[in-house]
């Protein structure tokens, strides 16, 4: 069906497309789930809508309420769009070292932004949002890192969609941020395909982002359950950028930088399958398009220049 009552109703049902030129052999194939084809252009639309609808059902969210959310960008943009459609206000707590496009999109959708210091990364944004909530208890924090509706959006949506399109799936590879995608879709796929490998690709940023004052300020999302994962890779900016560019060059897909990190992990799994001589159907998530990252310099000049430009930025 291609007709919907409103933009929000068109969420999900995204295409799964083959990557014939990046796949290493006819037996070891890569498939990309194009989550940039969601209403605001990222996979976060799924979690945002589910979290808002869950809060409405629970009576936590009344007409005219103001939402508060720590976010490095995409979740904020998704929440801002849904909130505006439904008459809520939104305040985002966002690290200052995120791309200008994200700020402009948030402001265009009517959100207010409170910036947290670059040196504290997302951890600091989470801490600031929690402090703001204590001072302003009338605000409603959906809290993507611990909200089961975030993972459920993928258990109900992303996971079943992928399995329906790729019943022979052997691997699911996605990005690790709030962990919602991997926990939700990963759990669903494990239940249906017990032998599946669920692989996390975690972006490794420049040092500034890890500038905590002590280890105990570290953060693991409440949603995270490592038993859902088979393994987890840390992918640095060089590899993420290289793969992001390969995705455009070989398959015509213009994706954000975190998708490059996911492709890097997916190709590592593909190489293992090829070496072992086992067939594989590897589904990977394209989290968003590249548009919001043009100003970072990721797509211009040499890889070295792009990597230097990304230093200190939160690129996923």
């Amino acid at each position: 069906m291609a007709r919907f009552d409103s933009l929000v109703d068109s969420l999900g049902g995204t295409p799964l497309v083959g990557l014939p030129r990046l796949s290493p052999s006819p037996e070891v194939r890569l498939w990309a789930k194009l989550e940039d084809r969601n209403p605001t252009g990222s996979i976060k639309d799924r979690a945002a809508l589910y979290m808002i609808e869950a809060a409405e059902k629970e009576g936590r969210l009344q007409p005219g309420a103001t939402l508060l959310e720590p976010t490095s960008g995409n979740t904020g943009i998704s929440l801002a769009m849904v909130a505006r459609q439904r008459g809520y206000q939104l305040i985002c707590v966002m690290p200052e070292n995120t791309s200008i496009e994200r700020r402009q999109l948030l402001e265009m959708y009517g959100a207010r932004i409170v910036f947290s210091p670059a040196a504290g990364g997302s951890n600091q944004a989470v801490a600031m949002a929690k402090a703001l909530l204590t001072q302003n208890p009338e605000l409603v924090m959906l809290y993507q890192y611990g909200n089961e509706a975030n993972a459920r959006a993928h258990y109900d949506g992303t996971g079943p969609e992928i399995l329906a399109d790729l019943p022979t799936i052997t691997h699911f590879v996605a990005g690790l941020g709030t962990t919602g995608t991997l926990m939700g879709a990963g759990r669903y796929l494990r239940e249906k395909v017990p032998s599946i490998q669920v692989v996390a690709a975690e972006p490794r940023y420049g040092e500034l982002v890890y500038g905590l004052r002590n280890i105990d300020e570290g953060f693991v999302p409440e949603l995270y359950d490592e038993t859902v994962l088979t393994t987890r890779f840390s992918v640095g900016p060089r590899e993420a950028l290289r793969r992001t560019r390969e995705l455009v060059e070989f398959e015509g897909i213009f994706a954000g930088i975190s998708t490059g990190a996911i492709l890097h992990a997916a190709l590592a799994m593909a190489d293992k399958a090829l070496a072992a001589g086992t067939p594989a159907d590897i589904a990977l998530v394209v989290c968003d398009g590249g548009w919001k990252y043009l100003s970072t310099g990721a797509y211009a000049g040499t890889l070295e220049e792009a990597e230097a430009a990304l230093e200190g930025q939160l690129w996923a």
Partner: protein, 90 residues
């Protein structure tokens, strides 16, 4: 050859400011023991009650050691070990 270990900013007080250090061992656990002998106090920041600290992530050749045997993960000369504090995404 030895094993190269990348140290996060927050732990460089133990390495005299060095971003990378060299160590040896057959497993991550013995590598950390060797590092601690050279850089006093490092082990206490990484390991609590015999397990990796909850907010410390260690990767051998970019793979999270919690999925490869944790402190028993095999390491060898030429491997690249990265230590990072756990941070939020999203």
């Amino acid at each position: 050859m030895a094993i190269e270990v990348r140290i996060p900013t927050i732990l460089r007080t133990h390495t005299g400011g060095a971003k990378t250090v060299q160590g040896s061992g057959d497993t991550l656990g013995t590598l950390i023991d060797d590092l601690d002998a050279q850089h006093s106090g490092l082990k206490g920041r990484l390991v609590t009650e015999g397990a990796l600290h909850r907010f410390v992530n260690v990767y051998v050749n970019d793979e999270d050691v919690r999925f490869t045997g944790a402190l028993d993960t095999a390491v060898k000369d030429g491997d690249a070990v990265t230590i990072l504090p756990a941070v939020a995404g999203g």
